[in-house]
């Protein structure tokens, strides 16, 4: 017996193309917003360029570095203290908005919550990393989000008041990723359902 092949009709294809275009627009917009994050990556190269007259750098990096560094000068300084509730409130509202823009629908519309991979309690230690970059946002149902929260709470307890390093925070985020990976919800991607029942044998 051959595999069943699903062929979408013209209306479904048009709808899919429209959603892909909307997603692409949102992705480009987020990339534009986050372009300043290229600064840390470019900074060492720019320093070498200053020392060696720019001979080492590739032409693209030479063009990009001065622009990126000039923009970095106008960025707000990293917050040297934990975020206040008012600051968190703004970040969370923006997270919901950005996730909805990227996914095409609010996470709450499919019963999910937006999870920050690096907990906002530690955001002040992540220098200039945008807490709402799409790579830092996941959609989880409440139970899976509780698993992530409990893991971060255990991590915080284990610090015994010590300030964690950025490497420790990233390692913890990756540990949580592994815990919740089977439960991450993605727009337009159906989770695998139970194995379909086998057809009855023909008599």
């Amino acid at each position: 017996m051959g595999l069943l092949q699903y062929t979408p009709d013209a209306a479904e294809m048009a709808d899919l193309r429209r959603r892909q275009a909307a997603f692409d627009r949102a992705r480009r917009e987020e990339s534009r917003r986050n372009s300043w994050m290229a600064v840390p990556a470019l900074a060492p190269a720019a320093a070498i360029a200053a020392l060696e007259g720019g001979a080492i750098l590739a032409a693209g990096a030479v063009r990009a570095a001065p622009r990126a560094l000039a923009r970095a000068a106008s960025l707000p300084k990293a917050v040297p203290r934990p975020l206040s509730q008012a600051e968190k409130q703004i970040i969370r509202a923006e997270a919901r908005r950005r996730y909805a823009a990227a996914a095409g629908t609010p996470a709450s519309s499919w019963g999910a919550q937006v999870h920050h991979r690096i907990a906002l309690e530690f955001q002040h230690l992540m220098a200039r990393a945008d807490p709402n970059r799409l790579a830092n946002l996941l959609a989880l149902r409440q139970q899976a989000h509780s698993v992530a929260t409990n893991s971060w709470a255990a991590f915080a307890r284990g610090l015994n008041g010590r300030t964690p390093t950025q490497a420790e925070l990233v390692a913890q985020a990756m540990k949580v990723d592994k815990l919740v990976e089977p439960f991450i919800l993605r727009a337009r991607v159906a989770r695998p359902g139970p194995t379909p029942p086998r057809p009855l044998p023909k008599k």
Binding site: Q85, Q89, R92, Q113, Q142
Partner: protein, 175 residues
């Protein structure tokens, strides 16, 4: 004084409120009372009977039926998640946090507070409504106020008693 029926009418007019209309209000009341092991205050009973499922993008914390018999354990856990701080979760904030009603014994008028999941829901972080109806109206404008950068304390226009809640200050005074 704001009433729940006024708040519901206002939010329905603005198309910001959804109901389940499944006739489960009394079931919710009985289930929540069983989960928290105490009778609910009258304002919470009134809210559950209204069967509100969401205000804007904020989903209500409700027990969830599993088929025709039984209840979903996950939803039950959510209902119980603030018992250790004498509060009853009413709405999710969409990022894992909860808006919860004060259940402290003897409170004359029950305020609604924000509880932060990253702090283990350890205490009310800030007040979001001096009563349930006021809270619902404030919640409806929550994200719009942030997006449009409304001035600090805009909530007092809706809820003049917000800065008099006993367990936590309003957000602009919270740490």
């Amino acid at each position: 004084m704001l009433t729940l029926s006024y708040a519901i009418r206002e939010l329905e007019r603005r198309r910001l409120l959804t109901h389940s209309r499944a006739g489960s209000g009394n079931d919710f009341v009985l289930r929540v009372e069983a989960l928290i092991g105490a009778p609910l205050p009258p304002e919470a009973i009134e809210l559950y009977r209204a069967e509100i499922t969401s205000i804007g993008e904020f989903a209500a914390v409700l027990p969830a039926k599993r088929g025709s018999h039984g209840w979903q354990a996950g939803a039950d856990d959510a209902v119980r998640s603030l018992l250790h701080v004498d509060a009853l979760p009413l709405f999710f904030d969409g990022c894992g946090n909860l808006f919860g009603l004060d259940l402290t014994a003897g409170a004359s008028r029950r305020a609604v507070y924000f509880f932060d999941h990253e702090r283990g829901f350890a205490k009310p972080e800030y007040a979001v409504g001096s009563s349930i109806p006021a809270f619902l109206l404030v919640l409806a404008d929550h994200d719009r106020a942030i997006a449009e950068r409304w001035p600090q304390g805009w909530e007092l226009e809706i809820d003049p008693d917000l800065d008099k809640c006993p367990r936590a200050p309003p957000i602009w005074l919270a740490s």
